[in-house]
């Protein structure tokens, strides 16, 4: 099969999915329907690539540093790292709320408009940086304890597998939809797709947050009094 043959085949696959996707799965974003239903198993693998990458990075850094934390900023050539300016704090605080809401919107409308669990999760995870910029390191670390983030991330990643295994327990192939499809265009529609997207968003956002925490902890001055 030549290049033109592959092009024709992929073109006809697109046409088929565009034609039947919405009526079969009651969602309007065909990309999400493919990612979380028709080829949901592939997305499960992709999610675990990210999961494994986060675990690998965290393990490497905790091997070196341990689980202790420090709120004292590190020093570069006897000078403390400069604090953020008031303008940065002022801009970051309102931006934090807006970005969080936007991220949740992207997650909840996965089957309707562009976006989905991964995209929304990445936006929410990145928004936690605005918490750091707007309220400072100490507050940021208090709001996001790694002891809570680690199990929450594992819960999000595990929920996807549970959704797949639930179908097998019911006698259907892995990740077969078990829920009613609902009304096309509603936030609660397309069966399990919104639930799986929320699970992915939980795993991705906390994965990003854990990564940011572990990286930034490397720039802290070790201090015995600050250990948790």
């Amino acid at each position: 099969m030549g290049a033109s043959g592959i092009r024709t085949l992929s073109r006809s696959l697109c046409d088929i999915l565009n034609a039947v996707g919405t009526s079969e799965r009651h969602g309007t974003n065909i990309v999400t329907l493919v990612n979380f239903d028709y080829r949901g198993f592939d997305t499960l693998g992709e999610e675990y690539i990210l999961f494994a990458a986060v675990i690998g990075a965290v393990l490497l850094m905790r091997t070196h540093r341990g689980e202790k934390t420090s709120a004292r900023p590190g020093k570069v050539s006897e000078q403390p790292v400069p604090l953020r300016t008031d303008a940065v704090a002022l801009g970051s605080r309102p931006a934090l709320g807006l970005t969080l809401i936007f991220g949740m919107y992207v997650v909840l409308h996965a089957q309707l408009t562009p976006g989905g669990g991964f995209q929304g999760g990445a936006i929410i995870g990145s928004a936690t940086l605005l918490l750091y910029l707007g309220f400072g390191y100490r507050t940021w670390r208090q709001v996001m304890p790694t002891a809570v983030l680690d199990p929450v991330e594992a819960f999000g990643a595990g929920a996807f597998v549970v959704a797949g295994l639930a179908a097998m327990a019911a006698g259907a192939p892995f990740l077969t939809n078990l829920l009613p499809l609902g009304k096309t265009g509603s936030v609660i529609s397309a069966g399990e797709i919104p639930l799986i997207n929320i699970a992915v968003a939980i795993a991705v956002s906390t994965g990003f947050a854990v990564l940011f925490v572990e990286y930034l902890e490397e720039t802290r001055e070790p201090d015995a009094g600050d250990e948790e």
Partner: protein
């Protein structure tokens, strides 16, 4: 190909080259973020808004941020090692 796409392809090449030609690591991280923004806009014009979101969050925010933190940690730890000697 629309004029908008042609312009964004050119900007992609330009910003990509700028990442390579910038020799100072901190500036390079910012250039990488700019390259991510251009790529996100390109994906948007190519009718792939889902990918544009990922590109925006990962390549424009998360990746440059991790680079900057790594550079800061390297400088702080270098100083700490010198202090230990």
């Amino acid at each position: 190909m629309t004029p908008l796409q042609i312009g964004l392809y050119l900007l992609t090449a330009l910003s990509g080259a700028a990442v390579v030609l910038t020799r100072e690591p901190r500036r390079q991280a910012f250039m990488m973020g700019l390259n991510g923004l251009v790529l996100a806009l390109l994906f948007l014009t190519l009718q792939a808004p889902d990918v544009a979101y990922s590109e925006l969050a990962v390549n424009m925010v998360a990746l440059p941020f991790l680079f900057l933190v790594t550079l800061a940690a390297a400088r702080i730890n270098q100083h700490r090692r010198q202090e230990d000697k």
